[in-house]
């Protein structure tokens, strides 16, 4: 046997040992929704990726804002025609600062980016750079330009975003996101968007011919657990320019125009972008696990620190609450059919609570990482939290394909004094399941709708609706109380 034959055999052996389960249809759909949202949802991690913030990018992937790591630069080639934005005046607070704008154009003219396949795109000259927007926005300085880019004889146009700290000199502005010419653009900025020091205020910018822009949120979770998402119009700072700066401690906010979400602001709401923020995220989240005093709870094991942080970040994001003004607690951690599930309680400043189930997702297309929130419900400060959700496994078919039409497991996490649960299905039938040690429990059942948790005397200690898999989408957040 020669060397290459041996290498071929070794590669074959190794390939045969690799096991990776295909994503099911729901997981793919979630990924596709994220791709579709990319243009209208802020790509906070884009700039972060360009700045080398690997951790931030990973976190943003998990967050769902950035569906893919952004380390691969892309120069989009589109029509050579300029956008309507480029044909208009320079907007923003620096519109009158001729020296700064000139320096910016000269910086843009140094654009020189190599792409896979050997393309090398360069900006031809400062004279051909249109500055669409330049200004200070909260703790940031933002510039949006449009310029031709050339690769050999090919010329295309691109919109480039530059970001720095408030008041930054042109030299300190970092180029981040790049797109083809668009007439309506939006971007969001959060902690970690600039390399030097975190900011506590999220910000967003919308440029274009939108008729109106509406702010939705931050979410209000009252002490009794009721949820509202207040909406209010955002006033244009000048024609075609909407600037939003959130106060410190705000949770997640959406900006909408024409009835569609265009950006999600307030990334502070989930945290976890830096070691310091991760420390805030994890602090106090697992007192019971650490002391081992978890009565009537099946805590399978204390998750590894990274996994715990991932679950907490996912739950924090799903809660839409700010990380610094809310508290987190790992309620339960366990495994169902080999998939690790965590339940995290996030407490709002009012005392109202958000209960979030977080499921490990290893192979979901375009989601990456672990810690996907799959169910959310809210409770009042005085209520007994409980959560039930449907967990569905993918089932292998004979031809190697997979389907999600497998058994539906209902995961039940009830109060610690519950000894049993009574599950009601769509046909009105009830099914009882014992919850050793007070829970959690898992029941294989189709059509589960609601759950009643019972104590040793048969009295009801908590009730909850069963969160269905359809609700486990990319935009998981506390639902508005009817």
């Amino acid at each position: 046997m020669d060397e290459l034959t041996m290498v071929r055999e070794v590669l074959g052996d190794v390939a045969d040992r690799v096991s990776s389960r295909p994503p099911d249809r729901a997981q793919i759909d979630r990924g596709l929704r994220r791709v579709r949202r990319r243009r209208r949802v802020a790509r906070a991690g884009k700039g972060l990726g360009a700045l080398g913030g690997v951790a931030a990018v990973l976190a943003a992937v998990q967050l769902g804002v950035v569906p893919v790591p952004s380390w691969a630069p892309v120069v989009p080639i589109t029509s050579p025609a300029a956008s309507a934005l480029a044909n208009g005046p320079t907007r923003g607070s620096l519109a009158g600062d001729a020296a700064w704008l000139r320096a910016l154009r000269e910086k843009v003219a140094t654009f020189d980016q190599a792409e896979s396949g050997g393309e090398r795109w360069r900006a031809p000259s400062a004279d051909r750079v249109d500055v669409i927007y330049a200004g200070d926005l909260g703790d940031f300085r933002v510039a949006v330009v449009e310029t031709p880019l050339r690769w050999g004889a090919i010329e295309a146009r691109a919109q480039l975003w530059y970001l720095g700290e408030k008041g930054a000199a042109v030299a300190a502005m970092e180029q981040g996101r790049s797109d083809g010419p668009q007439d309506l653009v939006s971007e969001t900025f959060g902690p970690g968007s600039v390399p030097a020091g975190p900011t506590t205020r999220g910000a967003a910018l919308v440029l274009g011919p939108a008729r109106d822009v509406e702010q939705v949120g931050p979410v209000r979770i009252a002490a009794d657990g009721t949820v509202s998402w207040p909406a209010a119009p955002v006033r244009a700072t000048e024609p075609g320019v909407w600037e939003l700066v959130l106060p410190a401690g705000s949770g997640r906010v959406f900006l909408r125009t024409a009835g569609r979400d265009v950006v999600a602001v307030g990334e502070r709401g989930w945290g976890g972008e830096s070691d310091a923020e991760q420390a805030v995220l994890v602090r106090g989240a697992t007192p019971a696990v650490r002391t081992g005093s978890v009565p009537a709870r099946v805590v399978s094991s204390a998750p590894a620190a990274e996994r715990l942080a991932g679950s907490l970040a996912a739950a924090q994001y799903a809660s839409a609450l700010d990380v610094t003004t809310s508290k987190r607690r790992l309620v339960w951690s366990g495994t169902v059919d080999g998939t690790t599930l965590d339940v995290v309680e996030v407490t709002a400043p009012s005392g109202g609570r958000v209960l979030v189930a977080v499921q490990d997702v290893y192979t979901a297309v375009m989601q990456g990482g672990f810690g996907q929130p799959v169910a959310v419900t809210t409770y009042g400060a005085a209520a007994t939290p409980a959560l039930a959700w449907v967990f569905q496994e993918a089932v292998a078919l004979a031809d190697g394909a997979y389907t999600t039409n497998g058994p539906q497991h209902v995961v039940l996490v009830g109060p610690s004094d519950a000894v049993a649960a009574q599950v009601t299905t769509t046909d009105g039938a009830t099914h009882r399941v014992d919850l050793p040690g007070g829970g959690p429990g898992v029941l294989t059942l189709e059509g589960a709708q609601s759950v009643r948790f019972l104590d040793g005397d048969g009295a009801t200690v908590a009730t909850t609706k069963v969160v269905q898999p359809d609700a486990a989408g990319a935009g998981l957040q506390p639902p508005t109380t009817p």
Binding site: L11, V18, I28, V35, V54, S116
Partner: protein, 198 residues
């Protein structure tokens, strides 16, 4: 072969793209693509990441790609990203895998089994582009021209990379032992996950 320079082609409007074909494609080809990416990267987590990213790019251009050969497109994207990402990973902190989903080889106390494992370790230690050439030429059985087109380099580069890879592997005792040649004490095999420049 689809033009993977389509990385710079504008995204299609995916709002109305057909999901059904894409679902079927992902579910039927996922495992094979991950195996392929694993051979290129030697790390399952990174392999799955690469496949995810490549599939996302494929989806964005699905209308164009599906009529041709989507798997070729995806495999090209995976190989190119594996090469470029390999460079980046040298600067990254190693990610610990929580649960290994790559089976250990079946218990086999023979020297042949140990030698094969050693060969795999040495393959993993090759620089990303060199490893990609080995995988594409030897495992995928592509021609020099196909390999060059897929990686976006010249056929001369493919030839020299494969030659250097074989020389490098043949210089290690593991491969020599595996093919029955007298053992040779080769240079130290660098840890593939360190930041060591090669």
């Amino acid at each position: 072969m689809p033009d993977v320079a389509a990385e710079v082609v504008p995204d299609v409007d995916v709002e109305g793209a057909d999901d059904g074909d894409f679902h079927a494609f992902v579910q039927s080809r996922w495992s094979a693509l991950v195996r392929y990416a694993y051979l290129l990267t030697g790390d399952l987590g990174h392999a799955e990441d690469l496949v995810q990213v490549a599939l996302e790019g494929t989806w964005r251009r699905w209308r164009h790609v599906r009529a041709e050969r989507p798997e070729v497109y995806v495999r090209t994207a995976i190989a190119r990203r594996a090469v470029s990402r390999g460079r980046m990973l040298r600067r990254r902190v190693r990610e610990a895998e929580l649960t290994s989903r790559v089976e250990a080889p079946a218990p086999d106390p023979t020297e042949a089994s140990a030698a094969r494992e050693a060969v795999w370790r040495e393959l993993r230690s090759l620089p990303p582009r060199m490893r990609a050439v080995v995988v594409l030429r030897v495992w995928e059985d592509l021609s020099e021209a196909e390999t060059a087109a897929l990686l976006g380099c010249s056929t001369g580069a493919v030839k020299s990379q494969l030659s250097r890879a074989v020389d490098r592997l043949a210089g290690r005792s593991a491969l020599r032992e595996a093919v029955g040649l007298p053992g040779a004490a080769g240079p130290r095999t660098p840890d593939p996950m360190t930041n060591e420049e090669r």
